[in-house]
């Protein structure tokens, strides 16, 4: 049997957030099509301070063949089993182990000022059944290290050591909207990007209880957010190079022509160009057919003019040298663009 997992839907009323309802509806539809009998929402079903459940029940009503399992997240204060009228919608306000297709799902709702390990201890530890899966809502300390600008602070954390000691086949967490995976720990991510920072095609997860296999499925959403940043070098064919890079970036989005109208993209160029206007035009041309997030179009404020052929030659040569640099870019180390920008600063003296 398959179990669908999503999280961080942040529903308000259907009128206020129609896209989020349609994204969740897409999850339901695809779950049904995939033969999944259960859909798990790992917290933050509702947006902050929102307390009306009628629209969500209306969404669930046509999907009576799906058992919907919800744990309250940090935005779901007041959400409980009694909140929902539908018999096939289960809200776990307290830790509960439920057998889904022969796999024990331990639903651990969000609780402020505590950790998942403490909540697990309160619940009597890991369930005796095997295999078992943990569903929670909070920060995974073994994963993302960058501060969460949307919700700074610590939310019911789970440590890597605890995960290693749990023996769970999989851990599905909500709270972090960016999809991610660290070992057996998965963040399904928000099914519908809430703003421009939640980029890319959104997804939900399908868990096969028989094999333990986890598969990501794209969610059909009303809009798709992307952020693209380009480093420009002042070379004779700077526009052509940029156009090629734009084409590669768009191809990497992995969307079809039908989704083109859903895209909202934030574009920025930095570095040095011999013709800033040409670069601006190339960016506008390259993303024609897509809607810019910023009304002003591409942001070229970080792009400087550089018509000194000698410096430009040095910059070009520097980039060529950088291309051959053997370095672990990313993580705590700078990425290639940062190094290039630093090199350009050394060349152009700014």
């Amino acid at each position: 049997m398959k179990v669908a997992i999503t999280a961080d839907v942040h529903l308000r009323s259907r009128a206020e957030s129609p896209a989020r309802y349609r994204a969740l509806e897409s999850v339901f539809q695809q779950s049904r099509a995939a033969g999944a009998g259960h859909v798990v929402v790992a917290g933050d079903l509702l947006d902050a301070e929102y307390r009306s459940f009628g629209d969500f029940e209306g969404l669930c009503r046509p999907f009576g063949d799906l058992e919907v399992h919800v744990i309250p997240g940090n935005h779901d204060a007041g959400l409980s089993e009694r909140s929902m009228a539908g018999a096939h919608v289960h809200v776990y306000s307290e830790a509960r182990a439920v057998d889904l297709g022969g796999t024990c799902f331990l639903f651990l709702p969000y609780a402020p000022g505590t950790t998942m390990a403490q909540a697990l201890a309160e619940a009597g530890g890991r369930p005796p059944a095997d295999p078992w899966v943990l569903v929670g809502h909070g920060d995974y300390y073994g994963g993302v290290r960058e501060p969460n600008p949307l919700e700074p602070g610590t939310y019911m954390p789970l440590t890597r050591t605890e995960v290693e000691g749990l023996g769970a086949r999989a851990v599905f967490l909500g709270h972090i909207h960016k999809p991610g995976q660290w070992g057996s720990v998965w963040y399904a991510g928000s099914p519908c990007g809430l703003d421009i920072h939640e980029t890319g095609v959104r997804r939900f997860l399908l868990y096969d209880t028989a094999t333990g296999r986890i598969e990501a499925r794209p969610v059909v959403t009303d809009h798709l957010y992307f952020i693209e940043s380009f480093v420009v070098l002042p070379v004779a064919d700077e526009v052509a190079l940029l156009e090629g890079e734009i084409a590669r970036r768009i191809a990497a989005w992995g969307i079809g022509p039908a989704d083109q109208g859903k895209v909202r993209v934030r574009v920025a160029a930095r570095g040095y160009a011999t013709d800033r206007r040409a670069i601006q035009e190339a960016l506008e041309r390259g993303f024609r057919g897509y809607r810019f997030d910023d009304e002003g179009g591409p942001d070229t404020a970080g792009l400087s003019m550089a018509s000194d052929d000698q410096r430009n030659a040095i910059a070009q040569r520097t980039r060529a040298v950088l291309e051959g640099l053997d370095w672990d870019f990313g993580g705590d180390e700078p990425d290639r663009e940062e190094v290039l920008m630093a090199a350009l600063a050394a060349v152009y003296g700014s």
Binding site: G113, T115, M116, A117, Q118, L120, A121, E122, G125, Y141, R145, E146, P147, P152, G153, T154, P157, L158, T159, R160, T161, E162, T274, S304, M305, A306, S307, D308, D309, Q310, R311, N312, A313, I314, R317, T318, A320, V321, L322, L325, D326, W327, D328, D332, E333, P334, E338, V339, L340, M341, A342, A343, L344, A345, A346, V347, G349
Partner: protein
């Protein structure tokens, strides 16, 4: 589009007596005698237009005048740009807008009539100038100068930056270690805070404590039960005699039994004596009769006095015996025996002499029956009578003793029977006393054992009287389980204490790291995450700078290797040859000699620049200056500020120079010439007349 000065306004100051204002044309002459402010104006233009200090492309030797002015320049963008002494410099503008190098500035100004580009070079130009303006080597030097020696020595190998442990590399390593330190602390804090171990321990401890508390209640209740049992046993012990009473009773029973046995013995002896009472009576009568029977038979009979004396002595001996005088008793008895023996001998002689008679025979037969011996004579009878009489005396004494003993026993019996009756439920016969005492002793010992056992149990429970619990907690007291729970509690409490201690130490470290006095864990973790993010940002930035500069240094090294080719190509270019030919009229190109010196190339000859005549050299240097500028500006035109550049030329070359300037103006250059020389003024005025409105002349004074 040419870079031109559209308007110049310099406030009076120093030797300049009036504000200077000029809307420049193509060729502009500023004439003034000494001390009219000519040099002041040149320096004012330099100060207003060009950068000073580190960012300057030229080492301007400016006087310390408080210069103020405003110059409007076109050709830098869509609109003219106004420059002041305190605003952005022209280099910044043309570097950003037109991509021109800062070094261009020194080409556009010839100050104090010095046309040399390098005073220390034999040819007035020098290799450094060539590298600066033609090969970009100067630019390379400038870029390299922005890269520290430490980074220039560094390389990337095995995805590591390898180089001297100083400068930026040292700083990067320090930031890396700092990041590792913050990272380690954050990881430890997250793990410890997020760990369920302390919580689990607390839960286990709570469970163990609850169970132990129930057992503790069971113990207190058990103590109450045992105490009650002990109390009952002690009360029961009070109904039994104590050991002292028992000992006293036992002693009394012993005394009683001893006395009773003695009385019994005496009674038996008395009975035995009393059985001869009949014989004693018969023997007395028989002796009387025998005497009568034997009195007529001749001779005198035995003397009775002997017998009386013997009896008296015997009585005295008995009395002495009763009084406890052994010696008189023995002497009396021996004397009595001697008198009886003497009487027996006399009586035996008398009887022997008496005849047998019928009575006598009867006496003898009776005697035989009673005493088992033959009555041989009267003496024998008398002897027998004496023995019987002695027995009678003894019996009388015994009777007295027996009576005393019986009195004593009657007095003793109640003192024993009374207490025994109290403990043994009823009166007992003396014969049952010892057995009753035994039973009592065993009962007392058993009760004492019970009490001792209960006392030990109570003591073992270790519960004070105040702590005893009457209410039954309905849990059985299990000492072994209690000990087990206590041991488990100690183990877990120690583990929790250790965990709490580690957390406390960790919190202290976190507070120290963050420079805080207080804060809950979630605040500390967020602050540590922020600290980590800031540390990572610093580390990434510095690493990017180092890596970027290493790549730049490598690119510079590669480009340096191509320096000679680039200089040669630039010297051959039309940008260099054009101005040179225009000014010298003879040389159309220039090349580097074997030693790097410049050689002027004419149609028919060559001449090392250092060997050229002063006039030719000045012309060539001006031509080269304009060539370098054209090269840098890639054909774009600008302005020239010449402070009496021709003042050292002869009259002919002055005319040529002015003509060259006219040629430059025609090519699109804007020229400002400052002079105090009337001859040059005349030359410019004549040349300017041909330019019409493009010529401006200002006289200072």
């Amino acid at each position: 589009m040419a870079i031109r000065l559209d308007h110049v306004r310099i406030q009076r100051g120093g030797p300049l007596r009036a504000d200077f204002e000029l809307a420049p044309g193509d060729l502009n002459l500023v004439y003034g005698r000494n001390e009219t402010g000519k040099t002041y104006l040149v320096e004012a233009l330099v100060r207003v237009l060009f950068a000073k200090g580190k960012r300057s492309g030229a080492a301007w030797a400016l006087r310390d005048w408080d210069l103020k002015g405003r110059v409007s320049v076109s050709g830098l963008g869509a609109e003219p740009v106004a420059f002041t002494a305190t605003g952005r410099s022209l280099e910044e503008h043309w570097e950003q807008a037109a991509g021109l190098p800062p070094d261009l500035a020194r080409l556009l100004v010839v100050k104090g009539g010095d046309a040399l580009l390098a005073a220390d070079a034999a040819d007035g130009v020098g290799t450094k100038v060539l590298r600066t303006y033609l090969s970009g080597e100067g630019l390379l030097d400038g870029i390299a100068a922005g890269i520290s020696a430490t980074v220039q020595k560094a390389v990337v190998a095995g995805r590591q930056i390898v180089g001297p442990a100083m400068g930026e590399l040292k700083a990067r390593e320090e930031r890396r270690q700092r990041l590792a330190q913050v990272d380690g602390l954050l990881t430890e804090v997250e793990e410890r805070y997020g760990s369920g171990r302390p919580h689990l321990l607390r839960r286990e401890i709570a469970g163990l404590r609850a169970e132990r508390d129930r057992l503790e209640a069971a113990r207190r209740h058990r103590a109450a039960v045992v105490a009650a049992q002990l109390d009952a046993a002690q009360r029961q012990q009070g109904s039994l005699p104590d050991q002292e009473v028992l000992a006293r009773l036992a002693e009394q029973v012993g005394v009683y039994e001893s006395k009773a046995a003695d009385a019994q013995t005496k009674a038996e002896r008395l009975a035995e004596y009393e059985r001869t009472d009949d014989d004693y009576g018969w023997a007395g009568k028989a002796a009387e009769a025998y005497r009568e029977l034997t009195a007529g038979a001749g001779g005198g009979g035995a003397r009775p006095v002997l017998l009386i004396a013997a009896l008296a002595l015997l009585a005295a001996a008995v009395g002495a015996g009763l009084m406890g005088w052994p010696l008189p008793m023995v002497v009396g008895a021996l004397a009595a025996a001697g008198l009886v023996g003497a009487y027996y001998r006399e009586a035996r002689g008398t009887l022997a002499r008496a005849g047998e008679s019928r009575e006598l025979e009867r006496l003898r037969a009776e005697f035989q029956r009673r005493f088992g011996t033959e009555l041989a004579d009267r003496a024998a009878l008398e002897a027998q009578l004496a023995r019987l009489q002695a027995n009678d005396i003894r019996a009388a004494a015994l009777r007295q003793e027996l009576e005393s003993a019986r009195v004593e026993l009657r007095q003793l019996a109640p003192r024993i029977a009374g207490p025994l009756a109290q403990y043994a439920d009823g009166e007992l016969e003396p014969g049952d006393w010892r057995e009753a005492l035994g039973r009592l002793r065993r009962a007392v010992e058993a009760q004492a054992a019970t009490i001792r056992s209960l006392e030990r149990s109570l003591e073992a429970l270790g519960v004070s009287a105040a702590e005893r619990l009457e209410a039954d907690p309905e849990v059985a007291w299990e000492p072994a389980r209690y000990e087990e729970l206590t041991a488990q509690l100690e183990t877990r409490s120690a583990a929790l204490t250790a965990a709490a201690g580690e957390l406390a130490r960790l919190r202290t470290r976190a507070l120290q790291e963050l420079g805080r006095q207080d804060g809950d864990w979630e605040e500390l973790i967020q602050a540590l995450r922020d600290r980590r993010a800031a540390t990572v940002a610093q580390y990434r930035q510095l690493t990017a700078e180092i890596l970027g500069k290493i790549q730049v240094a490598a690119a510079v090294q590669e480009l340096r290797a191509q320096e000679k080719e680039r200089i040669a190509a630039a010297l051959r270019s039309a940008a260099m040859g054009g101005p040179l030919r225009a000014i010298t009229g003879r040389y159309h190109a220039v090349r580097q000699g074997e030693e790097g010196e410049l050689v002027l190339q004419g149609d028919l000859d060559e001449c090392p620049l250092s060997m050229a005549s002063t006039g030719t050299r000045e012309q060539a240097l001006l031509g080269l200056r304009l060539g370098f500028a054209s090269h840098l500006m890639k054909g774009q035109k600008g302005f020239l500020i010449l402070d009496d550049a021709f003042q050292h030329s002869d009259w002919v070359r002055r005319g040529n120079g002015v003509q060259v300037l006219l040629g430059l103006v025609a090519a699109g250059w804007q020229v400002f010439y400052f002079t105090m020389d009337d001859h040059l003024r005349g030359l410019f005025q004549r040349a300017g007349a041909a330019l019409g409105p493009g010529y401006r002349e200002v006289e200072l004074g």
